[in-house]
Symmetry: C2
Subunit: 219 residues, 2 copies
DNA sequence: TAGATTGTTAATCGATTAACAATC
DNA sequence: TAGATTGTTAATCGATTAACAATC
């Protein structure tokens, strides 16, 4: 019985917000599965994800998952469906550019955290760092970026270079075939249409937090 | 005691997106001022910030800044206005909770970067880390959190603890008077109304980037 | 059946975009 | 004046929220 067999009719691009929520659902579902739970209702998942039941159902419908009115959703089925959509059932190779303090922290953070994503190469202009292996990821000279990216088939990169270098590095990576950036540099990148940039702007984030600390503190 | 009365007519809370853009504008304006520029047009600022001239004008109107049709905006004036709104003309004290790899990277990253925000205390449960000073920030035992936060008047905190501890730590910090969180833990926090949470969810972000790498890579 | 859940549809809200009038 | 910029207003777009009907 079971599987309503997820359609492989590669749906058009899913909105970034939805992708983010699906990532969150997966994390929660993996925990729930590990604790032995087999099924879950949309309102339960919503409570864990700080969302609404309707939102959860809509997201799950987006990836072709339907629940039964009496038993909710089968957790294993959901995990498989999310894996299919998010990771495309393959391990995604990612490059790190910029092996400074932040870059090393990024490598340390992601190691052994999301097995479906792996940092397979790092790049830096500092010759002293070249050929070192940090958290299982080898550091290459920036001059070899094009070669390595093509050789490894890397299409995603995390950018942890100084702000003033970010744009030129991004331009170069786009030419080298990078389609998707995780940008830690505190600047907005100008990229061609079709290239995805996710900003992890820690300086802007801290400013936002500081603002609301004063905003609500003046009661 | 009387709180310092706000200059303008107590502006209501500004949307978080606008605050983020204002933070970006300030960074750009500081650079421009350093290079000797005195005035700027909305379309120039928009080009730097990957925004639209209308958006820039609307944001600047929000903080009470108007330009002249012929000369655009005075840069010094803008910087002062943004400073007034964002930092409230005071240095904001922030606490770090969780001094692991990520926590140390956070301290290193923010040191000497935004002079209007300062990490004045860090907390960890690991006794070996207590009393050490990392990037000028002293590490205290978690048990002293309430005391130190009250003593220093800290209302903002960066959360860099493991996911499973994040909620309980957040609950405790809310009781201790924290109004605003920069949450690096990969979970959504449940907090009372009026408490601000800015998620810097690196795991979700990497999933998003991985998704679009495959999405656009199939062309 | 009763009841809680589900998928579907309409309404609302907010933010962005476009169009227009005012200014130097 | 002419022209580019500004502030203001209306229109559009998207996402979320609410209301409803279908299902087991």
């Amino acid at each position: 019985m079971t599987t309503t067999t997820p359609r492989h009719t590669a749906a058009p691009t899913i909105p970034v917000n939805t992708i983010g929520r699906l990532s969150l659902y997966r994390r929660l579902l993996l925990d729930l599965a590990a604790s032995g739970l087999r099924q879950i209702y949309s309102h339960q998942l919503a409570a864990l994800a700080v969302s609404t039941p309707a939102q959860v159902r809509r997201d799950l419908m987006t990836i072709g998952c339907s629940g039964s009115p009496r038993r909710g959703y089968a957790i294993e089925e959901l995990i498989e469906a999310v894996n299919t959509v998010l990771a495309r059932s393959v391990e995604t190779s990612v490059a790190l550019v910029g092996v400074g303090n932040l870059g090393r922290a990024i490598l340390a953070y992601y190691t052994n955290r999301q097995p479906w994503v792996r940092f397979v190469a790092a790049f830096d202009t500092d010759e002293d760092k070249v050929n070192r292996i940090i958290n299982g990821c080898r550091v290459y000279a920036m001059g070899r970026a094009e070669d390595i990216l093509a050789q490894e088939g890397i299409r995603a990169a995390a950018l942890a270079v100084p702000a003033r270098e970010a744009q030129s590095v991004a331009d170069r990576l786009v030419l080298a075939g990078i389609k998707s950036f995780l940008n830690f540099a505190p600047v907005r990148l100008h990229v061609p249409t079709g290239i995805f940039v996710d900003d992890m702007d820690m300086t802007t984030a801290l400013d936002r937090v500081a603002y609301y600390a004063h905003q609500h503190g003046t009661t």
